[in-house]
């Protein structure tokens, strides 16, 4: 059991694209582009996303992971947005008996959704969307965003993609606090290839306090098939204003297992020496723990969860060559009754933004 297995299982869990929905998007995208008459302020379609190349080294193997995750954004009118993210990932390993590196190339769509901003308080989303359980899956998953490349142990808990509808929004409830929420229902799989989504209903609510830059919130989800189990979680994020520190944490509990992670990143911008290099450097640490649930080891492994109670500590350094390109290195130690292991990771992550229309003047 390694983080590589967890990543692979999770991505398998995310499932294959609905061919019909992709066709729908491909048909809509050019129409959206064509519909954009040149206007100096009118939003244009964008192709953005991230790419990365990593080497994950455990005690017995080296896995070379290359991936590109394009995100298509097509705004329509003043209230609509079509957005989709695909993932193309190759995982290459040297066979145990030697020989050249080889392995599968996985292709799937993470989300393909239509958003309608109905009011300052409500956005309606339909299609396949990232399940808003906790914050990592929605906000921190892209390789150029995440501080450590290995997934948190609890990430597979209740983050299978949702196919259905969602209501969400964020608005101030006082001068010192904003409320954000998401309520969703996943009704069925879309298309003929999506075999992994499930029927469930859930929600997430959080309060963000801009003054202390603190966010706290909770998530809930109820499966509407099989045993109809409940799951819940909590999240916290804090970015103190006086220090370049960023603290995040999540807790999740479900019948599949439970656990938490706490992560801190510190930008070395306040160092008094080697400032040119250190202000581009970020150190990160993450502690996490996972407790097995009511499912067996094989079922746990199939969805990317550890098969046994696990503790893990990771430490890493990120260096930003510029704001869209960073180099990463990290070391982790995993403690489990199934066996302890070291985990090294090296690589680069890149974010790209490509306009699909006339951009007008640069600010």
């Amino acid at each position: 059991m390694s983080f590589v297995c967890r990543n692979t299982a999770l991505r398998r869990l995310r499932g294959n694209a609905s061919s019909g929905f992709i066709l729908f998007l491909l048909l809509l995208a050019p129409a959206g582009i064509a519909a954009q008459t040149f206007d100096t302020e009118k939003p244009i379609p964008i192709l953005t996303g991230s790419a990365g190349a990593f080497s994950f080294v455990t005690s017995v193997q080296n896995l070379i992971d290359t991936q590109i995750n394009p995100v298509l954004l097509v705004p329509l009118g003043d209230r609509w947005l079509i957005e989709a993210r695909a993932e193309f990932e190759g995982e290459f390993q040297r066979p145990p008996d030697g020989g050249p590196y080889g392995g599968p190339v996985d292709k799937h769509v993470d989300y393909a959704q239509v958003d309608y901003i109905a009011s300052p308080y409500l956005t309606i989303t339909a299609g396949r969307f990232l399940t808003p359980f906790g914050i990592f899956n929605e906000r921190l998953y892209p390789v150029w965003v995440r501080a450590l490349q290995p997934d948190p142990l609890i990430l597979p808990i209740n983050t299978a993609p949702s196919d259905g509808a969602m209501f969400r929004g964020g608005f101030p409830v006082s001068a010192k606090a904003n409320l954000n929420y998401a309520a969703y229902v996943s009704v069925a799989s879309i298309g003929i290839d999506s075999v992994d989504s499930e029927r469930h209903v859930g929600g997430r609510m959080g309060f963000f306090f801009p003054g202390p830059r603190l966010e706290v919130g909770g998530s809930w989800q109820r499966t509407l098939q099989d045993d109809r189990k409940n799951a819940f979680g909590f999240h916290l994020a804090w970015q103190p204003e006086r220090a370049p520190l960023n603290l995040r944490s999540e807790f999740a509990h479900s019948f599949e297992g439970s656990g938490y992670w706490v992560e801190g990143t510190y930008r070395l911008s306040q160092a008094h020496f080697w400032q040119k290099a250190l202000r581009r450097t970020e150190v990160v640490a993450r502690l996490q723990q996972f407790y097995t649930g009511e499912i067996g080891p094989d079922d746990a492994d199939s969805i990317g969860l550890p098969a046994a109670d696990t503790r893990e500590a990771d430490f890493g350094v990120n260096y930003f060559f510029h704001n869209a390109l960073k180099g990463i290195v990290s070391y982790g130690r995993l403690f489990s009754s199934a066996g302890n292991a070291n985990q090294w990771s090296f690589g680069i992550a890149y974010r790209f933004v490509i306009p699909l229309g006339r951009v007008g003047a640069q600010p």
Partner: protein
Amino acid sequence: MKIHFQGMSLLLALLCALAFASPVSAGSPSNPKGATSNRNDGSAAAPVTHLTDAGSMRIAGEQRFRANCARCHAAPEKFPPRMMGTILRHMRVRATITAEDQRLILFYMTQ
């Protein structure tokens, strides 16, 4: 069953109230001169301070950028307004930032 029906009715009523609370224009950059508080920007009904001059909007936009965006990722470079409008609309949905934050961050990022 009755309770279930009442719950559904309550949810629908709440959603209708949220949907029709105020009109919204999502993602179009604010007037670069920033001289007006646009009542169609979706922030009119929100209990927030309406900044009207460009200098204050720029400062507030930078503060809100640091509070909202920098929590998750490194600060990106500034893009042309037509690109930033799309990016901010995406981030409004993804990160559930408020309409007012979207307006001010968009103003700051397009100056």
